[in-house]
């Protein structure tokens, strides 16, 4: 846990009332601006005096970024909608229960009341070396302190580690991938949409960021298409403490069934790499197969292929395998 130093460095706080104003401010201040949604991640960074932006753009007054609305057969969720609002929204619960469960599993009730869906999917890594302000790769340096013979890396990556071994800690991010969500990004030049799978990036592509947002960009909404509406969902989060903890591994699965056969599946795990990992080999293997124990075993055997555990996180390999088996079985066991 980072040392809280309580007093934040000085910055200019701006509170736009519209998306247009927010975009204009971000364009004006470029990479000196910091976008603050719920503030839960931001305020820790500021109090630790590790991130020192000149300008903080607080989005809490932008009403246009809040709320869940129907769009065609799918839903559009404003980026500033709180996790509690997402988890309790009737349409989300009825048609996209996976997202409701994922949002409900994040942090504590108080944090979910303040934390936003946009902030949750875009949050930074929790690696304590990085959070403590050490000049690691992710902070622009030339070293990963977690990936050394004595590095404390129990919570770190088993997939796609490339110099930095930090993981993406979001609970809702794998659900977005499993639901084939699309992220709406705006900047002063216009609007673009990227698939959730492409929104998250690993250190191979940019070691200092966890998503595609560049200075000036703003995640304004998340669109959930109807592709997996009403599917058989599974979400499970394994963590050290039941209350208020980041995942050691979480899994989000959406199975579209045809009778007792799995017509198509979408699975993603998180906290195992710097980005949520979609398990395409598992998806291909289980498509067309019955939802039974042998399919679950097959899926489990494929789930962790390519994993390269570090000194202290080898337990994540069987954890991923077992979570995938349970996701295919559709049965959560009581200990989590």
């Amino acid at each position: 846990m980072a040392i809280i130093r309580d007093i934040m460095p000085q910055f200019d706080l701006v509170q736009p009332a519209s998306v247009e104003d927010a975009l204009a401010l971000l364009a004006r201040h470029g990479d000196t601006a910091w976008v603050m949604a719920g503030g839960l991640d931001s305020l820790d960074w500021f109090k630790d005096r590790i991130k020192r932006p000149k300008v903080v753009v607080d989005l809490s007054r932008v009403a246009g970024l809040r709320g869940v609305s129907a769009q065609g057969d799918g839903l559009t969720i404003g980026a500033m909608t709180t996790l509690t609002e997402v988890a309790r929204h009737k349409d989300v619960q009825e048609r996209f229960g996976l997202l409701s469960r994922a949002a409900e599993s994040a942090a504590s009730p108080q944090i979910r009341n303040q934390g936003t869906i946009g902030g949750n999917v875009s949050q930074d890594a929790q690696c304590w070396y990085y959070r403590n302000g050490w000049t690691c790769y992710r902070a622009g340096g030339n070293m990963c302190y977690a990936d050394t013979p004595v590095g404390m890396n129990r919570e770190h990556a088993i997939f796609d580690a490339e110099r930095c071994v930090a993981v993406n800690p979001s609970d809702t991010a794998p659900a977005m991938i499993a639901l084939d969500a699309r992220m709406v990004i705006q900047n002063a030049g216009g609007t673009r949409e990227v698939a959730a799978q492409d929104y998250f990036i690993g250190p191979r592509h940019d070691i200092t960021r966890m998503n595609v947002l560049a200075p000036g960009d703003l995640l304004t909404a998340i669109r959930i298409p109807a592709a997996f509406a009403g599917a058989r969902f599974y979400f499970e989060k394994v963590r050290d403490r039941r209350v208020w903890d980041f995942p050691l591994v979480n899994i989000a699965a959406a199975l579209v069934m045809s009778g007792e056969r799995i017509e198509r599946a979408r699975l993603a795990v998180n906290a195992v790499a710097a980005h949520p990992v979609r398990l395409t080999r598992v998806e291909e293997a289980v498509a067309g197969k019955p939802q039974n124990e042998s399919t679950a075993e097959l899926a489990g055997s494929l789930a962790a292929s390519g994993a390269r555990p570090l000194q202290y996180n080898g337990y994540k390999v069987p954890l991923v395998r077992n979570l995938v088996k349970r996701a295919i079985r559709g049965q959560e066991e009581p200990w989590t």
Partner: protein, 274 residues
């Protein structure tokens, strides 16, 4: 404006971590400025050299119609090294310029290709080529002095013709050699910081300060190579230098060019590719 970035290590020591990235743009600008300045100088200021006179017929007779200049091995090395260098430059600096791609593996693989090419070239140059032909000598220094006097408007005797390599070639080779060796040596050490199939990753091979210096040397040599590459491509494409470029492709030079620009006593007459 700092040319390097410093950081505190976990023990509170201030150590360098890498060069300041603006140097990348500075090197790009320097390369382009040299290109523009040289082109303008040649167009408007350069004085024609005094004609050294015809080569003695008996000497000219020993120069073949197609004078071998670079062996196949030397040409393969050159183009392999060029490909590796360009790959290394692109993978090192394009991500810094904002282009996102998976560059690390391509970078270290190209680095190993370059390292092997350099090792081959060292052996080839020492044992199979005329090793000293690429190093500046006393005649080159005299020619430089004559060139300065000529620009100042003095009448000076014609410069002695070079052997296999004109001074420009030699100077460029020297600069590329310094950068290349620095990059290869520091790059080989940096392989210990990433995962490769060759050896166990060991970030504690050196202390933070030593690692910082390795990164600095690698960075300075790397950005210098941006300007050097621009200058090299520029000269390779200049019309009066095209015969040299063609020789690096086809291996040989026309007799007429050799007689006009080289001293057959020093190179060309033996028709060797050394």
């Amino acid at each position: 404006m700092d040319v390097m970035q410093l950081a505190n290590n976990p023990w509170g020591q201030v150590v360098p971590i890498h060069i300041a990235w603006f140097l990348m743009w500075l090197s790009l600008a320097a390369g382009l400025a040299f290109l523009a300045a040289h082109a303008l100088f040649v167009r408007f200021l350069a004085k024609p050299e005094a004609d050294a006179g015809p080569v003695a017929p008996e000497l000219a007779a020993c120069v073949p119609e197609k004078t071998p200049r670079h062996s196949l091995a030397a040409r393969i090395f050159h183009w392999l090294m060029a490909a590796a260098m360009l790959t290394l430059l692109c993978t090192a600096f394009l991500p810094r310029a904002g282009l996102r791609f998976d560059w690390v593996n391509i970078h270290w693989i190209a680095g190993i290709v370059l390292l092997l090419a350099i090792v081959f070239h060292l052996g080839h140059a020492v044992f199979f080529m005329d090793f000293w032909s690429i190093w500046p000598d006393r005649a080159d220094l005299g020619n430089v002095w004559n060139g300065v006097l000529r620009v100042l408007g003095k009448t000076v005797p014609a410069s002695a013709k070079p052997g296999k390599y004109p001074l420009g070639n030699k100077m460029y080779h020297l600069a590329a050699l310094a950068c290349g060796l620095c990059l290869a040596a520091t790059g080989a050490l940096m392989l210990f910081r990433v995962r490769t199939p060759f050896f166990t990753r060991d970030p504690y091979l050196f202390g933070d300060l030593t690692w910082g210096l390795v990164y600095l040397l690698h960075g300075f040599a790397g950005v210098a190579l941006i300007a050097l590459s621009i200058i090299h491509v520029y000269f390779a494409l200049r019309p009066e230098k095209l015969p040299i470029t063609r020789a690096m492709i086809f291996g040989a030079m026309d007799r007429r060019y050799v007689l006009a620009h080289h001293d057959p006593k020093r190179w060309g007459c033996d028709a060797g590719t050394k």
